[in-house]
């Protein structure tokens, strides 16, 4: 029942293809790795005509298993120069699944002066490209408003703001959220907004299918039984889950006092203002007139998202997450939720990865461009990125490029990508992931943080490798937020897979598939030019002790190189 939509951005054609049988059973990240391996020259210009961008749903999309309506976006990253899969919630994957679309591929490149277009998937399944010239230069919220006026308020939209149009390496793709239908969910990492921008595509509009596409099950009764059992476990687990009860902002309470949350460009000092952004303050903001426990996608039972309104009660932002709070907040010495919510809105609107951009602003502060903690000045820089000023264009190239331009000595990146909200000196296993994963400094590639996060090098490496496999499974089938439940039931997950696809896999096969995905990604990166000696944690993390613990990052460089 699945199909692939292939769009040529040069001649404007769109065609539907039967799903390749060799890809049967793949989804999300695993499908992207296979697809890019099969169809894209890894040495290509990521913004050139040989590059492709793929959107695909996970292997359980549309099945009713909780949290499986995730959208994976993949391409060669202009930021890292390697493969990138960026995983996002929202309602686009549900809409894709309603049409039986497993993947949508955009290839080739229009001529330089061609006007932008947007893709429309109509209720009958027809796919057209429409003139987007009047929307060029428009940011995400206004573009989505226009699309809702044209195609209905319930239409799902994937789009880029001016950051993607300007081909910024820190640009995101935004996806409309379940419920609010606001473009506040981000496929943020890797600068993939610029890849869509390079194709001259402003957005993808997906109207719900006229007739719902139904899955073909090998054993439907068995599938439904296991699915319902797993959904029950996820729901039960959510009752005591801080990500449900508060949101990912709850992470601040643990990593803030521990000195693991980045502060002042990964300086690590713990500010006396930390209490301003702990969970109770977050809940004050939420409870003023918004809500938490909001599902970002249909069928989510974890519900870690939220709706933040301004003082007048108007929607301000949603999906206001820990990573945004950490990188745009304490990492810039800003401890004010009112300001941070506005910054989150700005980034979603412009189409910026909040991790990359927050890290870039902090480097600007360290370089003396603006003072530490000056929220107004910081918002001015975000605006400059949107406006495309000379400085804004530099900042849009990401933390590493901006830092080098400004002569900064401390640039917190791996493989050209800014680190997420966990200091390498405080979570050695996560740092190992930053340095060695196929995704660059990306916590979703294999975080090890939590109680008893190992400080012993060998244990940290083992934990990182295990979690890299776990997250490769998660990114292919569900949201990583379900892994604290599904991760204890890989036997049932395997049975679920078998009852859908008619296979006979076991938990070991799930991990073998995950490791195949990681191998394909690694091979792609090698062909793209990544070298073992690129596995680097910046030197200042080795030389400057973390103030809270006195720890430095101490996995020897030769060990990181050996793991390439």
């Amino acid at each position: 029942m699945w199909k692939t939509i292939r769009i040529d951005s040069k001649d404007g054609s769109a065609k539907s293809e039967a799903y390749t049988s060799a890809y049967q059973g793949l989804g999300g990240r695993s499908l992207i790795a296979q697809f890019l391996t099969d169809e894209v020259d890894a040495s290509c210009d990521p913004l050139g005509s040989e590059a492709k961008i793929i959107f695909c749903t996970g292997m359980f999309a549309g099945s009713g298993l909780a949290c499986t309506n995730r959208l994976s976006v993949g391409a060669k990253s202009p930021l890292t120069g390697g493969i990138k899969e960026s995983n996002v919630g929202g309602n686009a994957a549900t809409a894709f699944a309603s049409h039986g679309i497993r993947s949508l591929i955009i290839e080739n490149k229009p001529d330089d002066n061609d006007p932008m277009k947007f893709v429309v998937i109509h209720p009958d399944g027809a796919v057209t490209l429409e003139d987007a010239s009047i929307y060029q230069g428009m940011n995400n919220y206004e573009f989505v408003d226009n699309m809702h006026q044209l195609y209905g308020n319930k239409t799902s939209v994937i789009s880029i703001g001016v950051a993607g149009e300007r081909l910024y390496k820190n640009s995101s793709l935004q996806v409309t959220e379940f419920g609010t239908n606001a473009p506040c969910r981000a496929a943020g990492r890797g600068g993939l907004g610029s890849v869509l921008g390079s194709k001259g595509i402003k957005g993808i509009v997906i109207q719900s299918a006229e007739g719902k596409s139904s899955l073909e099950y090998a054993d439907k009764e068995k599938f439904l039984n296991i699915r319902n059992e797993l959904n029950g476990m996820i729901l039960e687990s959510s009752k005591g889950n801080p990500f449900t009860l508060i949101g990912t902002a709850s992470i601040v309470d643990g990593v803030g006092p521990a000195g693991i949350m980045p502060t002042k460009n990964f300086n690590g000092t713990i500010s006396e203002k930390l209490d301003n952004i702990k969970s109770d303050k977050f809940m004050e903001l939420v409870n003023r007139n918004g809500k938490n426990q909001h599902p970002c996608q249909a069928g989510c039972l974890v519900r870690c998202s939220n709706i933040i309104n301004d003082r007048e009660g108007n929607f301000l932002t949603g999906g206001f997450e820990y990573e945004t709070i950490a990188l745009c907040g304490p990492n810039c010495d800003i401890y004010d939720y009112e300001v941070l919510a506005k910054i989150d809105r700005m980034c979603d609107d412009i189409g910026l990865d909040t991790i990359e951009t927050g890290a870039t602003i902090a480097v600007c502060m360290e370089a003396g461009i603006i003072p530490w903690g000056d929220a107004e000045a910081a918002m001015g820089l975000y605006q400059q990125i949107s406006d495309g000023t000379t400085l804004g264009n530099i900042l849009g190239q990401g933390c590493e490029a901006a830092g080098k331009h400004l002569g900064a000595k401390r640039i917190p990146v791996c493989k050209g990508q800014a680190m997420a909200g966990y200091d390498p000196r405080g979570t050695k296993g996560t740092a190992f992931t930053y340095a060695t994963s196929t995704m660059g400094a990306d916590h979703t590639a294999g975080i090890t943080l939590g109680p008893d996060d190992p400080s012993d090098t060998q244990e940290a490496i083992a934990a990182s490798k295990t979690m890299q496999s776990v997250f490769a499974i998660a990114d292919s089938m569900t949201c990583m937020m379900t892994m604290p439940v599904l991760g204890g039931h890989f036997d049932k997950v395997s049975e679920l897979y078998n009852s859908l696809y008619g296979t006979a896999i076991n938990p070991g096969d799930l991990f073998a598939a995950a490791n195949r995905t990681l191998t394909l990604e690694k091979e792609f990166n090698t062909r793209a030019g990544w070298k073992p000696e690129d596995n680097i944690i910046p030197e200042f993390f080795r030389n400057e002790p973390l103030p809270s613990t006195g720890m430095t990052f101490d996995i020897p460089p030769e060990v990181l190189i050996r793991e390439a």
Partner: protein
């Protein structure tokens, strides 16, 4: 005898790591089944949980499976 999260328990011949974890969960010794398990300070790869046998004298420790933000 084995040591599981700093408490002593009887050794059960032929018990796998997965079976032990399930047993400890059912007895409410641990709160979730999605865990990372070390045996004698070595992490058990998750695919090996179902065929790694516990030995008398093993020291086992669990931690909840990490989840990011």
């Amino acid at each position: 005898m084995i040591v599981f999260n700093n408490c002593e328990f009887d050794f059960v011949e032929g018990q796998t790591a997965a079976e032990l974890v399930l047993s400890m969960y059912d007895r409410k010794i641990i709160q979730q089944k999605a865990i990372l398990l070390t045996i004698n300070n070595r992490l058990v790869p998750l695919p090996d949980m179902h065929h790694t046998e516990i030995r008398d004298g093993d020291v086992l420790k669990t931690r909840p499976m990490p989840a990011g933000g």
